[in-house]
Amino acid sequence: MRQAIGIDRVVKRYGAFEALKGVSLSIADNEFFTLLGPSGCGKTTLLRTIAGFEDVTAGEIALYGENIAALPPEKRPVNTVFQQYALFPHMTVRDNVGFGLRMQGVAPAERRARAAEMLELVHLSDFADRLPTQLSGGQQQRVALARALAPRPRVLLLDEPLSALDLKLRQAMRVELKQLQETTGITFVFVTHDQEEALAMSDRIAVMSNGQVQQVGDPRTIYEAPVNRFVADFIGETNVLPVMVDAVADGRARITLPGGHVLTTDAVEGLAPGAHHVSIRPERLSLATADADLTARVERVIYLGTDLQLLARLADGTPIITRLQNSSRNELPAAGAEVGLTVEAGAARLLLD
């Protein structure tokens, strides 16, 4: 697969603070790639170094094989959708969308046609003569998209573009953004702190924390096979339990769960016997019918509509969350009752700390 962006050991320092600690990533052509992480993890800084708003302290950034790390933003064939849109308030929607083309020296007639085409793409053809302030948040968002797409960039950078929208609109825009990426065939690099957003749209996700990439993979891998505690904890809801690894052989590990039950699961590279942690997703636990893997005391049952959440504690005090489908077949335990839990085969993921 062709590489769109190659980020090679990029370091960004602000005085003594290291925002990016040697980040390396390879983003493929025509990919919807997401940088996901909590605020302050360096994801926006990384995006800004690709756009050219920040220079890198060390490392290289290649765009389709060409090193762009030293180029100013106007020399980079990438465009950005800003978090607060940054639409020019003194220009009409049409002039906003046509601005990039104007700077590229495209003739007015063609500029107008391309702006109209872009506005049609985002369903805003009737708003060309309005000023940005006369539009709703969602409409401004679309104008920002149209403006960034109009010069046909090779890569589109999106800096938390949905965070200012309300929930309903945000969910609708997810689908629309994904479709837009597929129809235009442009590589999207999307920054967000919202894991659900990342899982819903991305071809691949890079989970970042503390100026470093923790894991890169498709949504399913990230969710189901997190490599470390941070990723397991950050993506979705999970139970992190202390376990003892008794033996490792042929890519499998035999582990002892709290309470003494032994099971076998996939080992991770570099795993040695000893004390470790596993991550078990709440929906991969169920109430045991016979032989239980874990025994816990129920503290509370929370009704969530489609799901039920069972909050319990193991004998050693470790909290454990179980998600059960809301079904009339489930006989719900009462608070204070002792229950046996079954871990679905392969659901206990060993973590490297």
Partner: protein, 269 residues
Amino acid sequence: MAARTDMRRYAGFGLTTALCLTILYVPLAVIAVYSFNDDRSITNWAGFSLRWYADVFTGPEAPIFRAAAWNSLSIAALASTAATVIALAAAVAMIRGGRFHGRQASYALISLPLMVPEIVTAVATLVFFTAIGVRTGYGTILVAHITFCIPFAYLPIAARMQGIEESYELAARDLYASRWQAFRLILLPLMMPGIISGWLLAFIISLDDFIITNFVKGAGMETLPTAIFGSVKQGIKPNIMAISTLMLMVSVVFVTLSYLANRIGQKTR
């Protein structure tokens, strides 16, 4: 608003207000009214007349006033324009320049003329011009006016610029605009209300200045305030009231324009 105490309920509110308004505006009103008085006396009302306005333009002192008015207006226009350009450059450096060495000191320097007693600046400026051997006259007035106009132009410009997010310029750069294009096509239009406001304010300050001008003007060189002062020394005649009223009107017009420029600016934010 309803939750706040209504100020009008405080004891003495009406009296204090009346007193303030009286002190501030009655003298101005008296000047304006008596400028239309058909009498040589400045205290006896003898009917409405425009004769003192005619006197300003055609009377014996008319050539002096005309020359002074031309000096005042041209100096105000040049000084406020130069001060605005300098203030704009300063604002860009101070607000977009990041953290540079001496930023605090620069800010103090820019606003210094607001705090130094004007008479001190006046003496210092005169001493400076004498020391470097420059003949006082139109040029020295202009240079002095540019200097003290800078902070007045700077304040509205900086206030406006502080409200403009840097992401606009970044967006322009991202869309292939050079640094200069981003400034000219994005930042400058967005700042225009602040620039106009700053220019008008500087113009008024320059037009109105007496102390510094009086020190650095040199012999035979008059601006309106110094000409008025010179004329008043020989006794207050109604034509002074007429010319004062005219200046007041110019000020009111400029202050209104400055206010409107800011108001329009609020809408385009």
